[in-house]
C-alpha cells in the first residue's frame, strides 16, 4: 500500500492526520509528510483509506 499526495491541492488542513496520525504528519509550515512504510496493520490501513476518502481537497490517492 502506497499513498501519494497532489501537492498542488494539499493545503495542510490536517484531516488525514487526525484520522491516521501514524501515517500522516502536517508540519507547522502546513506541509504534509507521509510515512515511507505504511504498517502492515489492517486497522491502520483502514484509517489510511478513510483519510483518502475524507480529504476535503481530494489530494490523496492510493497505489495498492
Amino acid at each position: 500500500m502506497k499513498v501519494t499526495v497532489d501537492r498542488t491541492l494539499c493545503d495542510g488542513n490536517g484531516v488525514c492526520m487526525g484520522i491516521a496520525p501514524d501515517v500522516f504528519d502536517v508540519d507547522d509550515d502546513l506541509t504534509l509528510h507521509i510515512a515511507d512504510e505504511i504498517p502492515d496493520d489492517p486497522a491502520i490501513q483502514a484509517q489510511v483509506r478513510q483519510s483518502i476518502t475524507s480529504c476535503p481537497v481530494l489530494a490523496l490517492s492510493l497505489e495498492e
Partner: protein, 415 residues
C-alpha cells in the same frame, strides 16, 4: 451479514454524510437496493469547506470540488435529484419522496418508498430571518449556488458588509478582503468567533481582520435590511441606531437543522435529530449522521451536534456500522470521535479539536516564530479542547489526550 438482495436502504441528503453512507455501503458490498434522495440542488455532492475559502476567491471552480461518484462503486443505486424526503410514516417503514420545492416538471403527490434502513443526512441550512429573505444583493453562503452568486459579484469590487462573525462569517470576510474588496464585518458578540474560540483566539482573529483592513462593528446586531433594487445599495440598520450601506451583503447567521420533514414521525427533534450513542434514533432502523445528528458523546458526557466536515464523514461510516452490527446481532459501538475543524483566514490555518463549550479555564501559550496563541480549554480540571494557528502537530497531539482523558474518566463530568 444477514442482508439479502431484497433489502432497500434509503439515504436522505445529498451532501458529505449522505455521500459517505452510500460509499460505505458500497465498500461493504451491500447487495440490496439503495435509494439516494439528494435534495433540491441537483449538483451532486461537493466539498463544502471550499465554498467560503477557495471557491468564492475564484481559486477553484465547481468541477474541482466535486466528490467522487459512488455510482462507480457497483451498488444497485438509484439517485433521485431535485427531490426531498417529505415525510416519514409514523407507523410504517416508508418515506414520502417528492420533488423539491421549485423543481421543474409536473408537480406530483410523490412516492412512498419502503425501507429496511433509513439514514437521515439532511444536514442544516443557512439561518435566514424572514425579513431578510429575497432581497437583491443580500446572500447567505451555504450552497454551491450561493457561493457562485457571490463570486460573480467580485469583479465589480462591491463594498461588502458581512453580517455575523462565527466561523463562516469570519472566513467569508477574510476571503473577500483577500480578493481586494472593501469589507465591513458586523460582530454580534465582543469578538469574532468568540463563541467557538473564546477570548484569546477571538482577539487574535479580530486583530488579523484589522491588520488586513477590514472594519468591524462589535456588539452589534442588524435590525433591518432594505434594498433599493437590483442595482441599488442595501441599507443596513443596527440595534444601536447606526446605519450603513453596502453593494453586497453576506449573511453568516449560523445554520438551522433541516429535519422538519420528520415532524409527526415520533422521533426526537428537540435539537436536530436525537440519537443514542451509536447514532440510532428511537426507531431501530432509522439512523442519523452529519450536522443533523444530536447524540450523546461518550468522551464529553453530553449531547451535542457537530457541524464540521470530519464529523459528517466519520458519523456516516459509523451509522452504517451501527446498522450492520444490528443485522449481525452485535451491539453497535458508541460514536466517540473527538470533533475537529479548521479555518483558513489570511493565509493562516486555525485548527481546533475537542468540544470547548462549557469550559471553565484556559491556558494560553505562544507557538511558532510569530508567537501565535495556542489555547488549551479545561472543564473541571480536564482537557476538553485545544486550538492553535499554524500549529497542526500541537493541535493533533491534543486530540489523543482529549480522547483518553475523557474515556478514562467517563461520566466524571457528565452534564
Amino acid at each position: 451479514m444477514v442482508a439479502t438482495t431484497s433489502q432497500t436502504v434509503v439515504v436522505a441528503g445529498g451532501s458529505l454524510a449522505g455521500h459517505t453512507v452510500v460509499a460505505e455501503l458500497a465498500r461493504r458490498g451491500f447487495a440490496g437496493d439503495v435509494v439516494w434522495v439528494r435534495g433540491p440542488e441537483g449538483t451532486g455532492p461537493y466539498s463544502r469547506p471550499a465554498l467560503s475559502k477557495e471557491l468564492i476567491q475564484g481559486k477553484v471552480t465547481r468541477d474541482d470540488i466535486r466528490l467522487p461518484a459512488p455510482e462507480a462503486y457497483g451498488l444497485r443505486l438509484r439517485v433521485v435529484d431535485h427531490a426531498v424526503c417529505a415525510r416519514l410514516d409514523p407507523d410504517d417503514d416508508r418515506v414520502l419522496v417528492t420533488s423539491a420545492p421549485g423543481a421543474r416538471g409536473e408537480p406530483s403527490d410523490g412516492d412512498w418508498i419502503p425501507f429496511d434502513a433509513l439514514f437521515v443526512c439532511t444536514g442544516t441550512r443557512a439561518r435566514l430571518p424572514e425579513a431578510f429573505a429575497g432581497l437583491p444583493n443580500v446572500h447567505c453562503l451555504r450552497t454551491l449556488a450561493d457561493a457562485e452568486r457571490i463570486r460573480e459579484r467580485l469583479p465589480g469590487r462591491p463594498r461588502t458588509v458581512v453580517v455575523g462573525a462565527g466561523l463562516v462569517g469570519s472566513e467569508i470576510a477574510a476571503s473577500l478582503r483577500s480578493c481586494g474588496l472593501p469589507v465591513e464585518l458586523v460582530v454580534q458578540g465582543r469578538l469574532p468567533m468568540d463563541t467557538v474560540f473564546g477570548d484569546d483566539l477571538g482577539q487574535f482573529c479580530l486583530d488579523r481582520h484589522h491588520a488586513h483592513g477590514v472594519t468591524t462593528r462589535l456588539l452589534t446586531t442588524v435590525t433591518g435590511l432594505s434594498a433599493a433594487g437590483p442595482d441599488g445599495p442595501v441599507v443596513l440598520t443596527f440595534d444601536d441606531g447606526g446605519q450603513t450601506s453596502a453593494d453586497l451583503v453576506v449573511l453568516g447567521l449560523g445554520a438551522v437543522t433541516a429535519c422538519e420533514w420528520l415532524r409527526g414521525s415520533g422521533l426526537d427533534l428537540s435539537d436536530g435529530l436525537g440519537c443514542d450513542e451509536a447514532l440510532r434514533t428511537a426507531r431501530p432502523n432509522v439512523f442519523a449522521a452529519g450536522d443533523v445528528a444530536n447524540w450523546r458523546h461518550p468522551v464529553f458526557g453530553r449531547r451535542m451536534r457537530v457541524e464540521h466536515w470530519s464529523n459528517a464523514s466519520a458519523q456516516a461510516r459509523h451509522a452504517v456500522e451501527s446498522w450492520w452490527a444490528g443485522q449481525e446481532g452485535r451491539e453497535p459501538p458508541a460514536f466517540a470521535e473527538v470533533p475537529y475543524f479548521w479555518s483558513d483566514q489570511y493565509g493562516l490555518k486555525y485548527q481546533m479539536v475537542g468540544h470547548a463549550r462549557g469550559h471553565d479555564e484556559v491556558s494560553v501559550e505562544r507557538t511558532g516564530a510569530d508567537g501565535h496563541p495556542f489555547v488549551t480549554y479545561f472543564r473541571e480540571g480536564r482537557v476538553v479542547a485545544a486550538a492553535g494557528v499554524n500549529a497542526p502537530r500541537a493541535v493533533m497531539r491534543m486530540k489523543a489526550r482529549i480522547q483518553s482523558e475523557g474515556t478514562t474518566t467517563q461520566g466524571a463530568y457528565a452534564g
